[in-house]
């Protein structure tokens, strides 16, 4: 079952919400509704399902309604229509006490500008969620210390927030959110106020913490690189509507519309796309001990190949043999594949393109893609990489080469 299920959610700001909702449902445009009712539509018919333990990233430009959407998950914004169930319970129908309990024990939140309490020390800030629940001082300090250790702030317990750098302050923000043992974390552009170096470090730390604690995280960002790095699932939002939702690679490889395309336009694809995405299956192979020169030659002639892969008896990838070497060997009347075996760089299927680029230097032959048992699963040609990074197809590449020479 999904941890969080959001169905047909509408969030409208203004006084004449009902009228605005009716107009929206009858297909009127946002602009028209705004002119008539002075209402703005922040979230427009959004349905999401979020699995337990995943990082669900909602990405969009400012004003796309992503932060408003996030605030529905703990009812800081009360949806105009629709339902949100957490563990099967509809939070939009909760009474006051249940809602307080939801906020206190189930859903933690991290803010863009940290939202720390300037008049409290770090340990009191971290323990704030527990203080509200009237947990006694000793118990909440114990818990807070444990969490402060996890986020790596030991020794700063008695400082005040203003004495800490931005990155450290946000660690306090994260610590405060996880100190209550809430299973769900809402992170509202949590790292956007930090400089790039610290931000990337915080992202790594978040992934580490996530590995340990396995929370369900809803992360809001306007930064695609951040979304791709953190997200198990990414939803792209525009004007209150989710325009595409899927895994990071899914979104990169099949952008749903021009808006998404524009978004991913400046992404460094070579860092995100992995070997398994662009490799081609490599079926022509010969096995040491079983096949000889003749069968290798026959295989190459049948498939019109210049080379063929060689695997060992226990199916491990060994290298390639070239057709001309095989022919020379046969003409000389010698036997055995080992002596003409060429060493070929191997890459794992989850290596990114930028990881494998250096291996192409001085390499005329495709790289071999192997799995963790060193079994050959495919190969990657340099031209595929060029096509992927530049976005040109093979013919365009040829044309460029011709024009250049």
């Amino acid at each position: 079952m999904n941890k969080i299920e959001m169905k047909n959610l509408f969030l409208i700001f203004g006084t004449a919400k009902k009228q605005a909702l009716r107009m929206l449902r009858s297909g009127k445009s946002k602009k028209e509704i705004h002119q008539r009712t002075k209402c703005t539509i922040a979230v427009n018919n959004v349905s999401l399902s979020i699995k337990e333990g995943e990082i669900f990233v909602v990405m969009g430009l400012s004003g796309s309604g992503k932060s408003s959407l996030l605030r529905c998950f703990n009812m800081l914004n009360v949806p105009t229509s629709g339902s949100i169930s957490i563990d099967g319970e509809d939070i939009t129908k909760m009474n006051k006490t249940k809602l307080l309990n939801l906020r206190r024990k189930k859903v933690g939140m991290v803010f863009q500008n940290f939202g720390l309490l300037p008049h409290k020390t770090i340990i009191d800030n971290v323990a704030f969620g527990l203080e509200i629940q009237n947990i006694n001082l000793k118990e909440r300090y114990e818990k807070a210390k444990e969490i402060i250790n996890i986020v790596g702030l030991s020794g700063y317990e008695n400082e005040y927030p203003y004495q800490l750098s931005g990155g450290m302050q946000q660690r306090v923000g994260i610590a405060r959110a996880i100190a209550t043992d809430s299973q769900i974390l809402l992170m509202d552009e949590a790292f956007s106020a930090l400089d790039p170096l610290i931000r990337s470090q915080m992202q790594d730390d978040l992934l580490d913490i996530q590995q340990k604690l396995k929370k369900t995280i809803i992360f809001i960002t306007h930064d695609l690189d951040e979304a791709l790095k953190l997200g198990n699932t990414i939803a792209i939002m525009k004007d209150g509507v989710i325009v595409q939702q899927g895994s990071p690679e899914d979104i990169l490889m099949n952008p749903a519309d021009d808006y998404v395309k524009a978004f991913i336009g400046n992404v460094d694809l070579s860092k995100i796309i992995t070997a398994s995405t662009i490799m081609e299956p490599f079926r022509a192979r010969v096995q040491l001990g079983k096949d000889g020169l003749a069968s290798a030659l026959r295989l190459m002639e049948r498939h019109t190949l210049r080379f063929v892969a060689v695997i060992s008896e226990d199916n491990k990838f060994k290298g390639y043999v070239r057709k001309k070497d095989v022919e020379r060997k046969i003409a000389a009347g010698e036997k055995g594949l080992e002596s003409i075996l060429m060493d070929i760089p191997k890459v794992m299927e989850d290596h990114s393109v930028s990881d494998m680029l250096p291996l192409f230097i001085n390499q005329k032959y495709p790289l071999a893609v192997v799995d963790c048992n060193e079994r050959l699963i495919g190969c990657i040609r340099y031209s595929d990489v060029v096509a992927m990074v530049t976005g040109y197809d093979e013919e365009a590449v040829k044309e460029i080469i011709e024009n250049a020479s």
Binding site: M109, L117, H119, I132
Partner: protein, 293 residues
């Protein structure tokens, strides 16, 4: 053309009010009179040098706290000692000039008025911060209260509470209420939105948000308000001597009536000293709060 007689209607209203609400006014009179008397007796028992010592000690503690943990004062004893020393010398001067009792009386009037103002003003300020409509109605009233010449309050005050300390205190309360309300509302409203949002997101009830987040963070501003309240009270308490309120104001008033420059100046000087001590103390309290931000 007939003259528009707003004054007449107000007068009629005041008359009506003094008739109908007489029991209430009597109760208020008794309460304020009692608290002033009790305080007067209490301070009367304490010898002057004890009071001076206590004031100097309070001044010392507040000053030290306001300097924070920087240990800055260790290098500069003058900064630390200056204010307590001023308190001692100033109060001794008052004693030697023979205005000790009047000064204590004035201090008590200011104290009672300020306490009443805070009891009314801070809750009202909180309400204004939460409720836009309430603030829209209360704000012009506050402006009115502050700009209306202070003497005018004395007239109905006499009608309601006759002469003496009570009308003086109440006129003072009305005159110095606005900054308490305004600064409380301002302080609460200027608490960063994200901090308030965070407290709600972690499950604070409205009361918890108010007392654990908004009030502590608004404290600097509220203390600045309290400082203004005390200063306004002090100036009004002097004027209130016209309706029979005691203390230094009485001496100043006597000085005016008898064209006695010496008396007027001496009493005035005592007021100045009292004002400086009260002002610095409340200001330092505010600074100490600011330190923690």
């Amino acid at each position: 053309m007939n003259k528009l007689d707003i004054g007449k209607y107000i007068e009629r209203f005041v008359d009506w009010l003094s008739d109908t609400a007489a029991p209430l006014f009597r109760q208020i009179t008794i309460m304020i009179d009692n608290s002033v008397n009790v305080l007067q007796e209490l301070l009367g028992y304490v010898p002057f040098y004890m009071i001076i010592a206590i004031v100097a000690l309070i001044a010392f503690i507040i000053k030290k706290k306001s300097l924070g943990n920087h240990k800055y004062w260790q290098n500069n004893i003058a900064t630390l000692i200056g204010f307590p020393l001023f308190c001692v010398l100033g109060l001794l001067l008052i004693y030697w000039m023979g205005f000790w009792e009047q000064t204590m009386d004035t201090f008590i009037l200011v104290l009672v008025a300020t306490l009443i103002v805070l009891m009314i003003g801070i809750p009202l300020g909180i309400w204004c911060a939460y409720n836009k409509k309430a603030y829209a109605i209360i704000r012009p009233l506050l402006d009115f209260m502050q700009t209306m010449p202070a003497f005018v309050y004395l007239i109905p005050a006499i009608l309601f509470f006759s002469v003496g300390n009570v009308p003086g205190v109440l006129a003072t309360v009305i005159f110095s209420l606005p900054p308490a309300v305004r600064m409380t509302a301002l302080g609460i409203k200027s608490v960063p939105k994200e901090v308030v949002e965070a407290s709600v997101a972690f499950g604070c009830t409205r009361r918890q948000t108010l007392f654990k987040v908004q009030m502590p963070l608004a404290m600097t501003t509220i203390l600045a308000g309290i400082n203004q309240v005390i200063m306004l009270s002090l100036s009004m308490v002097v004027i209130a001597s016209m309706v029979g309120a005691g203390g230094l104001g009485e001496s100043v008033y006597a000085g005016i009536q008898q064209a006695d420059v010496a008396l007027g100046f001496e009493a005035g000087l005592c007021i100045v000293i009292l004002a400086i001590i009260l002002d610095r103390m409340t200001q330092l309290l505010g600074k100490e709060k600011e330190e923690q931000k």
